[in-house]
Symmetry: C2
Subunit: 396 residues, 2 copies
Amino acid sequence: MRSTLVSNNKFSKLNITPKLLLGAGPSNPNPEVLEAMTQPVVGHLDPTFLGIMDDVHEMLKFAFQTSNPMTLPLSGTGTAGMESCILNVVEPGDTVLGIENGYFGHRMIEVAKRSRANIIPLAFEWGKPVELEVIEEALKNNPSINVVLAVHAETSTGVLNPIKDIADLAHKYDSLIVADTVTSLGGVDLQIDNWNIDLSYSVTQKCLGCPPGLAPVTANQASIEKIERRSVPPNTWYYDLLLLQKTYWGATQRTYHHTAPITMIYGLREGLRLLVEEGIEERIQKHTDNCNTLRKGLEIMGLEMLVPEGNNVSSLTTVKIPEKINDQQLRSSLLTNHNIEISAGLGTLSGQVWRIGLMGENSKRENVFRFLEALEIELKAQGMNVSAKEAINQLG
Amino acid sequence: MRSTLVSNNKFSKLNITPKLLLGAGPSNPNPEVLEAMTQPVVGHLDPTFLGIMDDVHEMLKFAFQTSNPMTLPLSGTGTAGMESCILNVVEPGDTVLGIENGYFGHRMIEVAKRSRANIIPLAFEWGKPVELEVIEEALKNNPSINVVLAVHAETSTGVLNPIKDIADLAHKYDSLIVADTVTSLGGVDLQIDNWNIDLSYSVTQKCLGCPPGLAPVTANQASIEKIERRSVPPNTWYYDLLLLQKTYWGATQRTYHHTAPITMIYGLREGLRLLVEEGIEERIQKHTDNCNTLRKGLEIMGLEMLVPEGNNVSSLTTVKIPEKINDQQLRSSLLTNHNIEISAGLGTLSGQVWRIGLMGENSKRENVFRFLEALEIELKAQGMNVSAKEAINQLG
């Protein structure tokens, strides 16, 4: 006897109010991306799709600024990318230095714990840049370290870490580096090859202007060789990078590994196509300019940045919540009254900061102004006297 | 110095020819599903999205015919579901019986090998049903077995395994069962609670009429208790079922675990809504009827089924490739000349059979006829004299 469980007239079609997503991601996808996702689904071994995979591979290399043959979008979200990179390159017996100055550095350590390696966490204050000399000290004092985990643009704090310098230190002490480039890829200067980053993972729903669902990863020869030398296979079959590359993404004769998320790949292709069309220098400049406009505007309104200029991530701005302002109420009012989403602080910064993203499609001057105007209204509603108009006038 | 790597006018917008996907999946998504996926993206903690998660949870329980509170769509494709179920419930020291009578039973064993448990593979001929007495013998002879892996509808062979009987045997010998319901969920009779299936995983791109990208899973109390008793956490943080349930899918106050693939979830909600609207009995009957029409039509045309009626999967039909017919050429011609995709055999059945899916949206009498007509043309082109018209006339 089967159960009905649900009545068949309870659920109606979705009819969702559009919102301006100025949080830590997802960001609003580009309309062309959503349109591309309505293209007819074809099989994962259809010649048409294989050609699309080639396009995605080539353009992802461009986005990452790499010539790594192993550059592909994993079928999962950003944390899948993190898990795959770490669980492939780290094996039992390894010693891993996990650099943490925010939530995602911490998460890398948590994920690495599943690898049965020896993990050395190195924590800095959240919201502050890492200290290179302390990192070097740790590497010097622990010569068994062979993998370093670090975040480029820390999504929880808005701090941009000197990932090239960290990579140089890692290599100086014979270690590989895994870099989280979730909030930088496609919006913030990132040069995988020039900076000698061994493995990196990112997402589609931030600066690439796509919905969430894929994790672009790239791995260089040194990291592949380490994976090839493993004495036991990685914890994961689904995200086994060598297997995936050998059978499907990197194969001349592609065969079945798993059914690729066809529609998401269409979207990613379009997001990458728009990046190529715009140009990477232009995209980076746009993110910097709009971020600076936002920061100045907020400062004119009397708010204080968490991260000083120069150390900040241009795609994600963290601003301190003014005294006496109710965090939850303000974010909720922005969402309800203005259809604008911003993000709460994470972990130790919860209740301390707001995180405001201007990513990909959303990195626009008009979005900065729309946000400042809405913020004025909601800060005033809580008794704080601010003027967005004045800020906007000064910004010109 | 950044690299350009690609020229910015090389890639044009996608313009993909629609195809009728009668392979092993992906199947053509329902147009309403693709439409739902163009709904505005909102945040993964937006109240609107939390409501959508509730809908998906409730309707997934209906599809699985279960009241399991842990019923959710994992952010990955079907193999992610397989990996998650196995790596969560199996721990080092366990003894696992892996029942294999096809490619996916074999894959379950491969995935389980990553768990550091003791794996006992039990192989039957691909394309033949499993033998329950042999399974019982294995369970009796190996009292340490505490997890059984089995496939319900074997996508590689079209054999429907007696999953309820296998579950009963597993429980008789104090074992849990993990069932692959990839090709059955939403199209073939499947009753998780009535049949006492402990864990199961499936996909969206077959009988649920969505694109690939999510893996619905369900786990009952017995399996959750086994996971809770683990002495070491699962290999995977991203697919750690208890963590995911506790923080996000099953939480009263949902918090961040990973960014859900919003757009895919919209699509799944619509696919499930259409299932609820149609009714599960009706959906199952439709799959049975259209499968029988296809089988009869092929037999009238002189082709031979791999699997006898009664043991066959109604959503996926395997037909033997006639002698002297070139497999690759025929499938390629169907795709190129008729825009119809069917699938090759997998593994030991490669070159022996074709796999023809009539799944979800594609389970339609008119699709059977369109396929038979195209098949006639391409078989004739290879010198085999067949008549689809005669078959269609007889089918009435």
